[in-house]
Symmetry: C2
Subunit: 343 residues, 2 copies
């Protein structure tokens, strides 16, 4: 707290700016750090001190093309991202100094927001969970699996990017619902982790030369729900493992974000969808906004009871955010990638 | 009837046999006609005199590959197909001479079946309707549009192969449900027919050089339901016209049946499915078996009231069946292709 006071008095604001748009793979050099005085809140505004920001693969889509829900890409703006923050000064009713909130902080130390942009969070749990299991990632796993996937006990749930921010929660929630879970991830080391720490029943590395055969062997009863975080070749192979009346939850396309030349679609569409009566459905978590609070209550209950063990994958220091993002896109993360900015 | 008696007494049975499997496009020469004595019914069997058979594009899938619900392809068997027939001799309880039935007659004059393979049909309507609007085609249109597509009044329904056996009924049922309908077909002449005779609000020819632009212009409010009978490039373009929360009904893949090298899947999958929250769902009509009778009652009501005008596209004579099939796959048909075998 003494530390925080000192920083606050300096009112220096470090900002990670988008310096250039990536041409091919994202690089740390696509960002630069600027320092400027912290902003002052106007009437109805709140000054927030960023404690942590989360980095999601989906943000990559905002840096290219036009066919994205994230809007057209721009440079010379602070990189966007959701943060958890402590209120430093409030000129908005309903918020007081030292309240904990989530806000669209971006990658910077300080940000000001209208009160309606903030969401107060409780202090009975590590606030970084509000960027993970109790934030967009957790809600995405929750609504995608339960509402789009509609799992039944005993079914097989296959998850790609299974160790990722969303995937590691999908696997655990599927187990809570009595499903058999199979995770797809990058390396044998991560496979081990899926089975030892994240509760997956089995796992497959998509980098294996025998991936196709290993995927088949890992799903002896076929796949009833494929929770697709990747698209691309993994989706193409998973399609051929789907059971009749199975569901493909189209959650993300991480295989296609970090490129300016997205691949063609998977073979077998639509033929296999017809023959196997497969439902393939995209969703965005925002569509379930009205149900967020109930879902958060349920997820928090699972965390407190120990039934759900979210993993936060921390980087220390705002200046590490670009490296954390590049590493995330290369498949380096386990759980929710968090950049801790201040205590 | 005198005519029929004469033919019956001859008990000569013409059969259209699969002579070879198509290598590339189906040819009339893939079939041959054989003549043999009509079979005699054993105990619990019924001898059926084929009056008409229907030819559906989906049957083509049974002549190649393995990934089909129709089973592995074979030669030197009678070509399969559903017929409407008159009972000639019955040794099965529940059926008597001159009853009208539907049965898996195949392309031949006479066939014998266990009683449980037959479906009795009423004689208050042209029995050929039981091969079209009151048969698999009509039920496919009905369940695909209403159960998978879930249309709401005022929505835009786009249909490919819109003049086809299923498509021409989908468009009409969509109009009955208050939708705006856009049909995709092959030629400008067929487009005219879609609008003049089949009740489509607008139409587009996929052979037009400006197909992409014309499709866009024909759907100014986007597409809420795409009823896909074709797959391939048409699906690929339709995807980019879909509205948020829209549905793609995957009914058939006619563009891919008549080839031994199916194309890759459409670009934009799964990215567009996510961004637009599109549900893409395959179905087979057999899944709705328990509801067939209610559906037939409703469809028959529409036909009798004149609200639904099914079109039967007749070829005269069993020997014309191979030509009728080849022409169908080339996009030559309007409505349900029927081969009339006897009066």
């Amino acid at each position: 707290m003494a530390n925080l006071e000192k920083e606050t008095n300096m009112t220096e604001n470090r900002q990670v700016m988008i310096d250039s748009l990536p041409d091919g793979k994202l690089q740390e050099s696509n960002y630069r750090i600027e320092t400027s005085p912290a902003p002052e809140p106007e009437a109805d505004e709140v000054l927030c001190r960023t404690l942590a920001v989360t980095i999601g693969a989906g943000t990559r889509a905002g840096l290219q093309g036009s066919a994205s829900y994230a809007g057209a890409p721009r440079t010379n703006i602070v990189m966007n991202g959701l943060g958890v923050a402590r209120v430093e000064k409030s000129r908005a009713s309903g918020f007081s100094e030292s309240d904990l909130v989530t806000c669209p902080s971006g990658w910077q130390d300080y940000s000001v927001h209208k009160g309606e942009m903030l969401s107060r969070v409780e202090d009975d749990i590590d606030p970084a969970h509000y960027l993970g299991a109790l934030g967009t990632n957790g809600l995405t796993a929750y609504f995608g699996l339960l509402r789009v996937g509609e799992p039944n006990s005993g079914e097989t749930v296959l998850v790609s990017a299974a160790a990722g921010s969303v995937g590691h929660l999908v696997g655990q929630i599927a187990k809570l619902k009595g499903c058999n879970t199979v995770g797809i991830t990058s390396t044998p080391e991560k496979c081990q982790l899926l089975e030892d720490k994240l509760g997956y029943d089995s796992s497959v590395s998509y980098r294996s030369e025998d991936f196709r055969q290993e995927l088949k062997a890992a799903c002896p009863a076929g796949v009833d729900i494929y929770f697709d975080n990747t698209g691309g070749d993994i989706l193409g192979l998973a399609l051929f493992r789907m059971n009749e009346h199975s569901r493909i939850v189209c959650c993300g396309v991480v295989s296609q974000y970090d490129t300016s030349n997205p691949a063609g679609g998977p073979r077998g569409i639509p033929g296999l969808l017809v023959n196997k009566r497969i439902r393939m459905q995209g969703f965005l978590v925002f569509d379930y906004l009205a149900e967020y609070e109930n879902a958060k209550d349920e997820i928090k209950g699972w965390i407190k009871s120990g039934e759900l063990k979210p993993i936060n994958d921390d980087f220390q220091g705002l200046e590490k955010a670009p490296a954390a993002f590049v590493d995330l896109l290369a498949g380096g993360n386990v759980g929710t990638r968090i950049v801790r900015v201040a205590d």
